[in-house]
Structures are given as structure tokens and as C-alpha cells.
């Protein structure tokens, strides 16, 4: 009986040792938790999830988080992030953070169209999450030099519940820089009509006056430019522009002061001389990136 037990114990010990030795020879280096192979289709995962699409979305999201957290992410590239988050948000369209993270991470690494696509998808799916159109607006002006689209998405963001008041200022700035100050005026007039508390009304009124100034000043700026082309130097008085038929009339200063031309040839108000800076070309705003993979960013 004792011999049998010794044989059994020896057999077990031998098998355990053999298993351990085989395990130690397995190439553990090949098992990289950050790697993403094939991204499954949302429809397939929906079937496999057995009625739990949010669970499938959350498990895939954990995979996406590992992919994002790869220490060698910049060398590896970010090609799989958009497909991953697209499937996650197909399975769970209310997964707001997935849209936000993917939208934020994709654009600096040259995947601006994918970033735009996921942010627009999120804007459609979650109209109460202001940050998604806000980020889309940022992409539009920062990477695409498209101020009008930026204004349009900032407007959507500003209208979302919970949007901070500064988003309204972004709408104004984007539309003005996109030569659409009229759109900013229309938006702010509506915002003013909807404002309930005195602080908001005061802030919107200030922004509306600025938008009206920008809308009118642009026409005067153009007339001044034509005058300069004609006479090399600028006009001494703005009324000269009317006399020369470059303007039908000098618009009133919305701030209640007088309009004048500064040294740079831009029209300003004596009551509030602030004007939005002219937009910089896109190449002047984006810092150069050294790694080749990141060099794809415009």
C-alpha cells in the first residue's frame, strides 16, 4: 500500500515538474496585452453577447483602454483605436466617454477624419453631452482651418444642457474668424431671448454687441482696404469712404462710441477697442512633431 502511494506521489511530482518545465519554455514575450488583433464586427459581438450588448461594449472598451495605455503606443500607431471605439459605440451608443477619449486621442496623431467621425457620431447619439461637439469644433478650427464648421459645432455645444458659458464665446470667435459674424449675431440674439438670469443676460448682451461690431467692422475694414489700394495711405476720416462710394453709410458703433481706423488699418470702437485677431494659417498653429508616425498630422 505504501509503495503504491509513493508511486502515485512520484508520478504526480514528475508530471508537475514536466508541466512547469514546458511552461517555462513558452514564449511569454509573444503575449502582449496591449496588442489588438482583429476588431470584431458589432453585429457579431451583439450575437455573441447573448442579450448583453453593454457588457460586450464594456469588455471591448477595456481592450481599448489597454491599447491606449501601451507604453509604445506612439511607435505602434493608433490605427485600431477608431475601429475599436466605433464597435464599442455601436454596441452601446450611450458610451459617452468612449467617443470623448477616442475623439481627443485620434486627432493629434494624424487621424483627424476618424476623430471627426467618432465625435460626430457621439454628437448625434448623445445630444446632451456638450463636450463632444465642443471637441469637434476644436478639430475643425485647429486641424482643418474650417472656422465655419467650428462655429456650427460650437453652437451645437453651447445649446447642449450643462455647457459652460465660455462655449458661447467660442461660437462668437469661430464665426467671426470664419467671416460669419452674422451667424454669431443670430445665435446670440436667440441666446439672449432664452437667458433667464441677469448675469447671463449681461454676458450675452456684451457678446452680442461684440458680434455686431465685428459684423459691421468687417465691411468697413474691406472699404478701408480698397481705399488703401487706391490711395496707398488710409483715409483720414471714415466719412471719406462714403464720399468715395465705398460704403453707403458708416455703421453706428454698437458699443455706443465712434468707429475709427487704427494704425494697422483695422476698424475699432472708441468705447471698446477689442477686435478678434485675424485667424492664423493652420501651419503656424501646429507644432512640428519629430516621430515619423506622428508626422502625418496636418
Amino acid at each position: 500500500m505504501r509503495t503504491v502511494r509513493i508511486v502515485q506521489a512520484t508520478t504526480f511530482a514528475g508530471l508537475a515538474l514536466a508541466t512547469w518545465m514546458l511552461a517555462s519554455r513558452l514564449d511569454a514575450g509573444r503575449l502582449r496585452p496591449y496588442d489588438v488583433g482583429i476588431v470584431p464586427k458589432a453585429s457579431t459581438l451583439r450575437w455573441l453577447s447573448l442579450g448583453h450588448p453593454t457588457l460586450a461594449a464594456n469588455l471591448l472598451w477595456l481592450k481599448a483602454v489597454q491599447y491606449i495605455g501601451d507604453p509604445r503606443a506612439n511607435e505602434r500607431g493608433w490605427e485600431k483605436l477608431y475601429p475599436l471605439t466605433d464597435v464599442v459605440t455601436d454596441l452601446d451608443p450611450r458610451h459617452g466617454y468612449a467617443y470623448q477619449v477616442a475623439g481627443t486621442l485620434l486627432s493629434p496623431f494624424g487621424h483627424v477624419p476618424e476623430s471627426n467621425a467618432i465625435l460626430e457620431k457621439g454628437t448625434r447619439a448623445l445630444p446632451d453631452r456638450y463636450i463632444l461637439p465642443y471637441l469637434r469644433a476644436f478639430n475643425a478650427f485647429y486641424y482643418d482651418d474650417d472656422w465655419i464648421t467650428a462655429g456650427r459645432f460650437a453652437e451645437i455645444s453651447a445649446r447642449s444642457p450643462g455647457a459652460p458659458p465660455h462655449v458661447r464665446q467660442n461660437v462668437l470667435a469661430y464665426y467671426v474668424k470664419g467671416q460669419r459674424a452674422g451667424a454669431a449675431v443670430a445665435f446670440l440674439q436667440q441666446s439672449l431671448a432664452e437667458a433667464r438670469d441677469p448675469e447671463t443676460r449681461k454676458a450675452v448682451e456684451g457678446q452680442l454687441l461684440q458680434a455686431m461690431l465685428e459684423r459691421d467692422a468687417v465691411r468697413v475694414d474691406e472699404a478701408v482696404e480698397k481705399w488703401r489700394n487706391r490711395y496707398v495711405i488710409g483715409p483720414l476720416f471714415l466719412q471719406q469712404l462714403v464720399g468715395e462710394k465705398l460704403l453707403p453709410a458708416i455703421p453706428a458703433d454698437p458699443h455706443g462710441g465712434e468707429l475709427f481706423v487704427d494704425e494697422e488699418g483695422r476698424v475699432r470702437s472708441t468705447a471698446n477697442p477689442y477686435r478678434f485677431a485675424r485667424p492664423e494659417p493652420v501651419w503656424a498653429r501646429i507644432p512640428r512633431r519629430s516621430p515619423e508616425k506622428e508626422g502625418k498630422a496636418p
Partner: protein, 253 residues
């Protein structure tokens, strides 16, 4: 009624002594605990992972308990030859079957209560207060309970006319298919749409009783969920009625 309660209490004691049930419960507790660790792997919105994985772990274990314990109750008694002495007493076949089911329901409720307690503790500890353990949480748990009752009733039905192994296999297949009937009906287009329609009515629509999304987003389940709850209870009752019908006619020799 007295016989019914006596049989159900015997069932509870018997099931609690079984290692399978205890093992599954232990595994369920471990899974709910593991969801806490998994929550740490995410980037923001930790509650989303925690609640979704935890609830699914509870569902998985509860369904497995209902399948394996439920399918063993009647057919197991027949295989062990303990059914005859029971039926020799003034206990009707239907009373015996319903008593067994009642016992199974108590066991499933007990299981769910243990897992729910742990799950609530984890959610509250993670949030630092009790706000995740609100209405949405208890409604999700209530829908899970109904799901277990449906699977348990299906297990009793199969157990009433076949062997333990076959009953477990059939019940597990129905439990899996029951999670897919909604998808099948929605996706099946073109000719032969009567097939998914028939399956929709024959199989229990268990996916209608899933409240993961409502729990993740802290919203009350849609009004349809309560209709689904009534449907689940009606389905369980119908399955039990059929089980009684079959069991009454079964030759026990």
C-alpha cells in the same frame, strides 16, 4: 398547502447540502468580487464596468444554479428511487412538483440575496456612498429574480419527463436561446419570418428581462421591462402547468 411547504423546505435543505450549489455560489461571489478588480482596468467611468460585470456575473451564476439544481430535482428523485416513498404518502404529483419548484425558488432567491448583498457593498464602497444602490439597482435585481424563476420552471418541465443530464442540457440550451430570441426576430428578414416568430412565442424571451443598461446608466428600466416581468411570471407559470400535466401522466415504473 402544508405538504407543499414541507417539500419546499426539504428541497432548500437538500440543495444547501449539495456541493454543486455551494461551489456555484462561491464562484458567483468571486466573480462579483472580480468585477471590482476589472473596474480598476478602465479609464474613467469605473462604475460602468463594475455594475455591468457584477450584474452579469450574478445572472450567469443564478441561471447555472437554476439549470443544474432545477433539472436534478424531479428526475434525480426518480433516478435515486426516492420519489415513490414520497408519493406513497398523501401527496399529489402536482403538489410534489410545485413543492419542489417552490423550494428551488427559495434557493434561487437566497442565492440572489447573498450575491446582491455583496454587489451592493462593492458598489457602495466604490462610490463612497449608497447612491448606486438605488431604485435602478433593486429593479435590476428584481428582473434577475424573475429570469431565474423562468429558467427554474423550464428546468422543472424538462426534469419532469427526461433524465437529469438531458434536462440540464435542454434547459441550458433554452436559457441561451432565450437571450437571443429578440435579436433573431429583429434580424431575420425575408422569407420564413414565421420561424423566428414561432421561436419568439415558444422560447422564454429572457433578454427582455436584462436590466444591465438601466443599471449602468442609473435609469429606471423602461415601461416594457415591467410588461416583460409580467410575461416572465406568466411564462414560468405556464411552464409549471405543462410540467404538472406531463408529470401526472408519466409512468413512474
Amino acid at each position: 398547502m402544508r405538504h407543499l411547504l414541507a417539500i419546499s423546505l426539504v428541497t432548500v435543505r437538500e440543495v444547501l447540502r449539495r456541493k454543486l450549489q455551494v461551489n456555484l455560489l462561491f464562484f458567483g461571489v468571486a466573480l462579483v468580487g472580480a468585477s471590482y478588480l476589472m473596474g480598476g482596468l478602465t479609464l474613467g467611468e469605473r462604475y460602468r464596468i463594475l455594475s455591468d460585470l457584477g450584474l452579469t456575473a450574478m445572472q450567469l451564476i443564478g441561471v447555472l444554479v437554476a439549470v443544474f439544481v432545477g433539472s436534478n430535482l424531479v428526475s434525480g428523485d426518480m433516478e435515486r428511487r426516492v420519489l415513490h416513498p414520497v408519493l406513497a404518502k398523501p401527496v399529489s404529483r402536482s403538489g410534489y412538483l410545485l413543492g419542489r419548484y417552490l423550494g428551488l425558488a427559495l434557493v434561487l432567491t437566497l442565492n440572489l440575496a447573498v450575491m446582491t448583498g455583496l454587489f451592493a457593498l462593492i458598489l457602495a464602497a466604490d462610490a463612497g456612498d449608497l447612491h448606486p444602490v438605488g431604485r435602478a439597482f433593486f429593479e435590476a435585481v428584481a428582473l434577475l429574480e424573475i429570469q431565474f424563476l423562468v429558467v427554474g420552471a423550464v428546468a422543472m418541465l424538462f426534469s419532469a419527463f427526461t433524465s437529469t443530464t438531458l434536462a440540464a442540457v435542454f434547459t441550458l440550451a433554452v436559457a441561451i436561446a432565450g437571450q437571443m430570441t429578440g435579436e433573431i426576430r429583429a434580424l431575420w428578414q425575408g422569407p420564413g419570418t414565421w420561424i423566428p416568430r414561432l421561436l419568439w412565442y415558444l422560447l422564454p424571451n429572457l433578454s427582455a428581462l436584462n436590466a444591465n443598461e438601466a443599471l449602468v446608466y442609473g435609469t429606471p428600466p423602461p415601461a416594457q421591462a415591467w410588461l416583460a416581468a409580467a410575461y416572465g411570471l406568466a411564462y414560468a407559470a405556464a411552464a409549471l402547468a405543462l410540467a404538472v400535466l406531463v408529470f401526472e401522466r408519466r409512468d413512474l415504473r
